[in-house]
Symmetry: C6
Subunit: 74 residues, 6 copies
């Protein structure tokens, strides 16, 4: 399964997303994703040091600024 | 709805845009957007620590330097 | 008007350009622009803290390193 | 063998991946890779100063944020 | 003249190139350039604070890491 | 000779590669390269302040994170 198919298989699940830069981390439900790894997350929170810092809600994330994505345990 | 369609659905609304780098934040009305997430904002302000720092007015933002976009509550 | 058309409408005008990195800022006349937001500026100056730091003259700017562009008041 | 073929030849092996930014390092089994060097790693760990810092498990890595990949000795 | 044509018109001339990151600066003769602004410079030097720091000679520069290019006075 | 042809002409030679970020430097034999400047190096070492820091061996380098490449004297 290619990486873009793997990520599409996560739609509907909660994911953990690490962004470029100062290692900000988002968590939310992956609502959609395209081949550039642009993401639409719903119910997203921004985390800092593993703690929720801010509720973002519905958010679009630009794929090139995503470092890594992994599914959260459910 | 793919991420690029989701963002197009926000045209005409106020959006919150986080840029790459030192986490600068813009807020303004999303006037247009293309598939690269290049944005045209009008009435845009630059924020720092949640406070308005500078009025930019009409501004073009390069999509690859956008980290995330979310709609503002109205 | 899509963002790339909006920027083309600024050709011939003085623009303010914020670059990636340590927030360096350029100002100059936008002589040409392509769909990647590569810019050709003439009579360009580099600014620091709102003050002219260095005259660059004719300069080519790589689009992916442009954060934002806005027209200057005339 | 072109670089993208070389990396495809590593599928199924443990790889060491250096990411952009603060030099974070991942190690895991390369489950799949595409031509953009997007990676799917399984059993992945995040390392800091050569020590395991965190178990990530299954993770998708965005190719443009990969600095280098090398196979681990087995 | 589009930005990529403008830069092609500089082939054979000495250019000043600012790179992404810690604002390293290169100067050399522009031997060739492509549409991605990948550059081949010959007789290139790396500068720091306007002083030559290191002779690089023949060097290939990746376009996406170029911030700006301007021709040197002759 | 376009930059991508110039770099292809270096296959089989030792090259010096400067990477984005904290100016890490690699040296190794250029085994293959593609048009994105993705590189396959063999016998690669990571350098710090001009000294060998770590033997990497066979390594794939992502082109967009390459700042510059120059051939080493032989």
């Amino acid at each position: 399964m290619f990486p873009n198919k793997r990520i599409q298989s996560l739609v509907g699940r909660r994911v953990h997303v690490e962004m470029k830069g100062e290692r900000s981390v988002l968590e939310g439900v992956l609502t959609s994703v395209d081949d550039y790894l642009n993401l639409h997350l719903s119910g997203a929170n921004e985390l800092e040091n593993g703690e929720k810092r801010r509720l973002l809600g519905s958010v679009i994330v630009r794929g090139n600024n995503v470092v890594l994505i992994n599914p959260m345990k459910e």
